[in-house]
């Protein structure tokens, strides 16, 4: 079996198909731990994991923290408001100080694209990107792929449509790289203002027509719409966005019978997704969250083995 060679996990763009499959297979073997009465294994006993979050996050941070604890690692959580960043210290200085306390893995969420890359170069500890700006969110895409594989039995040959703010979405980018490497066909859909420049060079199809994105799709991954985008005139109003791109029961009439509805959360009910779809029979939104744990356990485990 393939060995994991990297010190860090910064994104899916730079990974091979085999490396992504290795993470998913490892996650598969970890999933069962969370179903046991005693949800703990000694895999990372004696290791320290720092959760370094510069942006608000409940789901991702909790998921990483539980994943680390179920592997018996010690965890420390630092958020931007409590760290010395507010005192004018640079990211690199803060990281060097944390490293001086001999930590093994740093999980980082940051609003600036490339921040984990800066960190990874500065420290010897492994760095896991928990979302950087508009760049990548690899563990989210991995848990999305894990969920698709679990439900559909495969990824290769499936049609996945990602709907929403593609331009500013790290979830979209990581999904595009991961899914296409594993042989899925990806379509992105949103208003032209939310489709990134140079999209023609990404391995995806583009449509502004939500019906077209829904028809033939095996999976719909619906992205969260950020309210502040409306203030920069990227669309006229949330109401108009919901009318054109919000996925509701009406629009789902065009969908395949066994379509999977996914959303990285947190959901804006009634904006990008209607409550009846979010809570409906095709929704796997909560299963995504469950699988997030297994995927993050796998990633923590692999980076702790990598680069040694």
């Amino acid at each position: 079996m393939l060995n994991w060679k990297h010190k860090d996990l910064l994104g899916l763009e730079e990974l091979s198909k085999e490396e992504i499959e290795l993470i998913l297979e490892t996650a598969d073997s970890f999933k069962e731990i969370s179903l046991r009465p005693i949800k703990k294994v000694p895999t990372l006993r004696g290791k320290t994991v720092v959760l370094f979050f510069f942006e608000p996050s409940t789901r991702t941070r909790t998921s990483f923290e539980l994943a680390a604890k179920r592997l018996s690692a010690d965890t420390v959580s630092i958020s931007a408001t409590t760290s010395s960043i507010v005192k004018g210290e640079t990211l690199k200085d803060t990281a060097k100080n944390i490293e001086a306390m001999k930590v093994d893995i740093i999980v980082m969420r940051h609003s600036s694209s490339g921040a984990p890359h800066l960190l990874a170069k500065a420290v010897e500890a492994s760095v896991i990107n928990a979302g950087d700006g508009c760049h990548e969110h690899p563990t989210q895409a991995l848990l999305d792929m894990f969920t698709i594989k679990e439900k559909k039995g495969r990824i290769s040959g499936l049609k996945v449509s990602i709907i929403g703010d593609i331009a500013h979405s790290r979830v979209a980018r990581s999904n595009i790289w991961g899914l296409t490497k594993l042989g899925a066909e990806v379509t992105v859909c949103g208003p032209p203002t939310l489709i990134p420049q140079g999209i023609e060079k990404f391995p995806v199809k583009v449509t502004y027509d939500v019906e077209e994105a829904i028809r033939d799709a095996d999976v719909l991954n619906i992205l969260r719409i950020q309210l502040e985008r409306q203030k920069s005139n990227l669309f006229p109003s949330l109401r108009e966005y919901a009318l054109n791109f919000g996925i509701d029961a009406e629009k789902l009439k065009f969908a395949k019978p066994e379509v999977l509805i996914m959303h990285p959360g947190p959901i804006n009910r009634g904006v990008e997704i209607s409550p009846e779809v979010a809570d409906g029979p095709y929704s796997v939104i909560l299963e995504q969250v469950t699988n997030g744990l297994a995927v993050r356990m796998a990633v923590l485990y692999l980076v702790s083995q990598g680069g040694k």
Binding site: T90, K92, S111, S112, S113, G114, H135, R170, G198
Partner: protein, 425 residues
């Protein structure tokens, strides 16, 4: 004391002089430029196999004094310039406080007089505090000694303000230098917009942010008949707009910088903040068009846009990093590598663009080697090359994307204002 430069190959486009000559310098003044000058009683510099250019003139650099003396000073900037073959520098007004009043202009002249290595000419602000709203006292700035006006990094967004600045400065025959950037289009942008910015998740600056402002300023130059100079051309469309404007007889000149004909946006991959610059690095087609613009004369000047930044402003998240790179020490080397070794322009054209043209555009008595004038020239060995090393950088700041590049052309001697200020020995 007399110095004789023996057997060097002079390139002086102003005097249409190109060939092997001896130069006799007495008491800092050029006395003779002839073949085979008698070398008795002279200190001898062997120019054999070397090239002699007029001292380089940089019409666009940032020397950070006053305000950010930790990044650069007039002294360290002078030394950095000398290392790169520059004997005249024009410093941009975005100092702290900005060069928007007579007092700061006088401060720069006075401080530089104490240093005395070379001429440093300040560029004054177009508007007070570079805010783009109210004109500075342009007449007084001119009297105090500014050689041009510019709001530099802050493009004057209000077209009416820009029109009036150009119209008003005409009576002083003062050059208006425009940093062309539509700040609404570029807001929040970090690099050239396109596939790579989308790949890296960095907000893009569309090339149109530059193009639309160049088009506007060309039309304002037509309207006002003022002297307009377009700073740091970075796109192929800009080159074409300037080419057409010159054909239409509009008084416009233009500069580009070494990084716009040597580096593409791909250099940013890996979030390399030393390649974060404004305007941003573009694409291979832009580089080709800029080289063609240099070749056919559309682009008159190669300036450095030397922008020193402290490590702590560059060694941060890409989004937080300052824009800009240093360039005084590498400009000639990059130009030799990208334009001369590749035979895109001649040495004579290179000297025009790095010395004579900026001097002419600014109305400075520089850019040529003349009998009766103080020696202001450099002696370069074009057969030798050197490696850009961090520890060898003279500038106070080290933010260059050219680290570890091997560049042709070792500058062996620099005469500035009659004084030998750099000697390889």
């Amino acid at each position: 004391m007399s110095i004789l430069i023996k057997g060097g190959y002079i390139v002086d486009p102003e005097n249409k002089l190109e060939g092997v000559y001896d130069i006799l310098i007495d008491d800092g003044e050029i006395k003779k430029i002839e073949k085979d000058i008698d070398s008795e009683k002279c200190e001898l510099i062997d120019g054999k196999g070397k090239y002699i250019f007029p001292g380089l003139v940089d019409m666009h650099c940032h020397l950070r004094e006053p305000g950010r003396e930790d990044e650069e000073t007039l002294l360290s900037g002078s030394l950095s310039g000398i290392k790169g073959g520059f004997t005249t520098l024009c410093c941009m007004p975005n100092t702290k406080p900005p060069i928007d009043n007579q007092g700061i202009v006088e401060y720069i002249y006075n401080e530089n007089k104490k240093i005395g290595l070379m001429d440093i000419f300040p560029v004054g602000a177009i508007t007070k505090n570079l805010e783009g709203k109210e004109l500075t006292e342009i007449g007084e700035l001119k009297k105090a000694g500014v050689v041009a006006i510019s709001d530099d990094g802050n493009c004057v967004m209000d077209s009416e303000v820009m029109r009036r600045a150009m119209e008003y400065s005409k009576m002083f025959d003062l050059l208006v230098i425009s940093h062309c950037e539509d700040k609404n289009l570029s807001r929040g942008g970090l690099m050239n917009e396109g596939y790579l910015s989308s790949l890296l998740g960095l907000k893009g600056i569309p090339r149109q942010a530059e193009i639309v402002m160049v088009a506007r300023d060309i039309e304002l130059a037509k309207l006002t008949e003022a002297k307009l100079h377009i700073a740091h051309v970075s796109t192929k469309e800009t080159v074409e707009l300037i080419r057409q404007a010159k054909k239409r007889g509009i008084k416009v000149t233009a500069e580009t910088c070494p990084h716009y004909f040597s580096l593409t946006e791909e250099r940013i991959l890996g979030y390399n903040t030393n390649c974060k610059v404004n305007p941003p690095l573009r694409t291979p087609e832009d580089i080709e068009a800029i080289k063609e613009g240099l070749r056919d004369g559309t682009i008159d000047v190669i300036a450095t846009d030397h922008a020193p930044h402290a490590d702590f402003e560059k060694d941060v998240e890409f989004e937080q990093a300052s824009f800009g790179m240093i360039g005084l020490e590498t400009a000639l080397g990059i130009a030799l590598k990208e334009l001369i070794k590749t035979k895109i322009i001649s040495l004579s054209q290179l000297v025009e663009k790095m010395s004579l043209n900026p001097a002419k555009i600014l109305g400075l008595d520089k850019g040529s080697i003349n009998i009766g004038k103080p020696a202001d020239l450099i002696i370069v060995d074009l057969d030798k090359s050197w490696e850009v090393k961090r520890e060898k950088i003279v500038s106070k700041s080290k933010n260059t994307p050219f680290l570890n590049w091997t560049l042709p052309g070792v500058i062996e001697y620099v005469f500035a204002k009659g004084k030998l200020v750099l000697n390889k020995n």
